[in-house]
């Protein structure tokens, strides 16, 4: 599924290759795939519809940047818009000016409220705050005990009254207790509820009136379906919402609800949870979420990365040689070095739409680049510059010198030949058109 969109887009893009302008049909085809991907990611239907309409307009009549293929450009537009919707501002938990902050967590049953309460307590404590946690979940068996056990684990005081049946009473007493203990933050864990349960929604309102929370956070399971929007709206209507925390992002759900809720409520995502352990809570990055929801690597960050980290002079040298058809093994070595600077091969592959579908995880041996670099480094300067002198004797020597086998040396040379073929074609196609930049099709893998 995850590779689905990437390879489909790649298919459309490859048909576009060489075209200076994207046709309406191209845009339509791509939008169809993107729409499907968003729906499969559980983005709300109405949100998808509006988004696709806006994107189609935006993509029409766009001039093609020199540096991007038309396909990449559409992906860039969609991706950038997604990131924008998902929020650009860093969102911290608010602190009450009174000096005593009350954070209340609510959401559906099993969303991860109790676990998140403990995670937040640990986070705030490490920020120098003095948090206390309390459970007003009087419904789920052993709910209060669950929180108490977790609080003990992070060495934060907890206040529970397992025999008390009134959530409001517990909440009020917890505030008193927290102030008495000179805590500056109280985290209130509530019982899970369906938004249709009026009685339970009223309980939430009563608690709110009693303790007037500073931060009202909705806990949302990343796996939630189309219902996310009405759930968020129902909680927003009942007690209000300052932001939300998405949980279980360590799973493989695409988390489309993040987009739906942001779009419909406009409220920020404050943090994300990525595991069952108390440390598994992280800052939220809109661009990562966009890539996740789209289910495709983010070409743009690849291109940006490539542009920012690729040594300009080196690149120009390689490029000039490329254009003169004199790409040699020295250039290849410097390409390898650049690639290493950019991060792991797996990350890189993940960033290339289309590639993720074709390259199997087990084929991705991170060591292969190291190996290839060692092989080239065992060559003489002359061999690097004029690879066609590499006869059998030389290859054996190089294999011995680099601790590899002759097959591996042959493999590298074949790869070089393929790359240089590609580059030749590339240089013919682009002669005079490009001012520089990274030759995308020239990746030697």
């Amino acid at each position: 599924m995850l590779e689905g969109l990437s390879s489909k887009l790649q298919g459309i893009v490859s048909k576009m290759r060489g075209k200076a302008r994207v046709t309406e049909q191209d845009i339509k085809d791509m939008m169809k795939e993107i729409r499907m991907a968003l729906l499969e990611a559980d983005v709300n239907y109405a949100v998808v519809k509006e988004f696709i309409a806006a994107m189609t307009d935006k993509c029409k009549g766009q001039e093609i940047f020199q540096s991007l293929t038309p396909g990449q450009q559409i992906v860039k537009i969609v991706h950038d818009s997604l990131v924008e919707l998902l929020g650009s501002e860093q969102n911290k938990i608010h602190v009450s000016p009174s000096g005593f902050t009350v954070i209340i967590l609510y959401g559906l049953q099993g969303a991860g409220k109790t676990t998140t309460a403990a995670k937040l307590a640990r986070l705030l404590k490490s920020d120098g705050k003095k948090p206390m946690v309390t459970s007003v979940d009087v419904h789920r068996p052993a709910a209060a005990l669950q929180l108490e056990v977790l609080a003990r684990k992070v060495d934060v005081p907890s206040f529970i009254l397992p025999e008390e049946k009134s959530a409001v009473k517990i909440a009020k007493k917890a505030v008193e207790r927290a102030k008495y203990l000179l805590c500056d933050t109280l985290i209130v864990d509530t019982a899970g509820r369906t938004t249709m349960d009026e009685e339970m929604m009223n309980e939430l309102k009563d608690i709110e009136k009693a303790i007037n929370p500073t931060e009202k956070l909705l806990i949302v399971d990343a796996m939630i379906g189309q219902e996310a929007v009405s759930v968020a709206l129902a909680f927003e209507k009942a007690i209000g919402l300052d932001g939300f925390i998405m949980t279980k992002l360590d799973g493989d759900a695409r988390g489309g609800a993040a987009l739906s809720i942001r779009k419909i409520t406009g409220k920020p995502i404050k943090l994300i949870c990525v595991g069952e352990k108390i440390e598994d809570i992280e800052d939220y990055y809109p661009d990562r979420m966009a890539g996740r929801i789209l289910g495709m690597g983010d070409v743009l960050s690849l291109i940006e990365k490539a542009q920012s980290q690729f040594d300009e002079d080196q690149a120009r040298n390689t490029m000039e040689r490329l254009l003169r058809n004199t790409f040699n093994l020295e250039d290849m070595l410097s390409q390898f070095e650049q690639i290493q600077k950019m991060g792991s091969v797996k990350d890189m592959i993940g960033m290339i739409p289309g590639a993720s579908g074709k390259v199997k995880e087990e084929d991705l041996d991170e060591r292969i680049i190291d190996l290839n670099m060692a092989i080239i480094r065992s060559m003489t300067i002359k061999e690097r510059r004029f690879p066609n002198i590499l006869n059998a004797t030389r290859r054996r020597r190089i294999a011995a010198g680099s601790g590899t086998t002759v097959q591996q040396v042959n493999q590298l040379i074949r790869q070089y030949e393929q790359s240089s073929q590609l580059m030749k074609r590339f240089s013919k196609m682009n002669k005079g058109k490009r001012r520089g930049g990274f030759p995308m099709s020239g990746f030697p893998f």
């Binding site: 109405a46 399971d221 219902e227």
Partner: protein
């Protein structure tokens, strides 16, 4: 309340959504044109039926219209109803065998309702006069054992448990032997929530299953996958991956009393090989009913 009534009441919201949408789309005309069929498809997607299953349902509706030349509301309803039932399969009940030990293993991702379902099943079989036992094989989550023990107290059922952090397979070993020696009819094992993409946790589950099969070779063993009705398309992957790890006998869809449309049941059934056996309709012990595809579909679509 009859079984039909309680299931239907639990699905009230769902009914409202799809049925109303259905009627609204055809309002006035009394028949369906191509645009309206597209809208119907969108309605299914909005009920979490998923793009794949929705397409299949609408394809069969279009096919039916072409064949019969009848594009009336009744005709569309008829075709939709049929295809949904085809996807959901025949009604299958969770069968308990007489005169032998029955073991029910509850598995699923985090927070779906495994422990609650264990408590509900306990009440069901106690009510039938069976000798029941619970096993607390969630040794990971804080207070998971105590949570199950509360269900044990509520239903007056013995709970086999060790301490937090102990080996869940060892708990199962103890439980199976206790159940055999005490001549228990139904042993219900609650396991920890685990995301299907975590290999170590899925391996742990295979180990649990192996131990149960090995220690109770002559008993009837059924693993049930518990799926939350508010889940979106990830539920389909859950069903697939859990079925690859262990033998899944059937599925339980919980939280159908919530605002979710429950269409995910169709999305899951569309891909999964095992049937949906049970439905959870609330947090109390009584809120468990047999899943009935006909009632489910009937409550999803408007009356014709």
């Amino acid at each position: 309340m009859g079984i039909f009534e309680s299931f239907k009441n639990g699905l009230l919201k769902t009914r409202g959504f799809v049925a109303e949408g259905f009627t609204k789309i055809s309002a006035g005309l009394g028949r369906y044109d191509e645009d309206m069929l597209d809208e119907l498809e969108a309605l299914l997607v909005q009920a979490d039926v998923g793009v794949g299953a929705s397409l299949q349902i609408m394809d069969s509706v279009r096919h039916h219209i072409r064949q019969t030349g009848d594009d009336s509301v009744d005709s569309v309803l008829f075709a939709m109803n049929n295809q949904m039932l085809k996807i959901l399969g025949e009604k299958t009940e969770l069968h308990i065998e007489e005169n032998t030990l029955n073991i029910i293993l509850l598995v699923g991702v985090n927070g779906t309702g495994k422990t609650t379902t264990a408590g509900k099943l306990c009440l069901r079989y106690k009510g039938e006069g069976k000798k029941v036992m619970l096993a607390a094989a969630d040794t990971f989550r804080a207070a998971a054992i105590e949570q199950l023990q509360v269900w044990g107290e509520r239903t007056n059922t013995p709970v086999i448990a060790q301490t937090i952090g102990s080996d869940p397979a060892a708990v199962c070993y103890d439980a199976v032997h206790a159940a055999i020696s005490r001549r228990v009819d139904v042993l219900i094992i609650d396991t920890a929530g685990r995301l299907h993409n975590k290999q170590n946790l899925m391996d742990e589950l295979s180990k649990i299953s192996k131990v149960v099969y090995r220690e109770a070779p002559s008993s009837s063993i059924k693993a049930l996958l518990v799926i939350d009705a508010t889940t979106g398309q990830n539920a389909v992957i859950q069903a697939e991956v859990f079925s690859n790890a262990i033998d899944i006998h059937g599925m339980v869809i919980t939280k159908l009393d919530g605002s979710a449309k429950g269409g995910v049941a169709i999305a899951v059934a569309h891909k999964a090989k095992s049937p949906i056996l049970l439905a959870g309709l609330g947090e109390s012990a009584e809120d468990l009913v047999n899943f009935d595809p006909e009632i489910f579909v009937r409550s999803l679509l408007p009356n014709s």
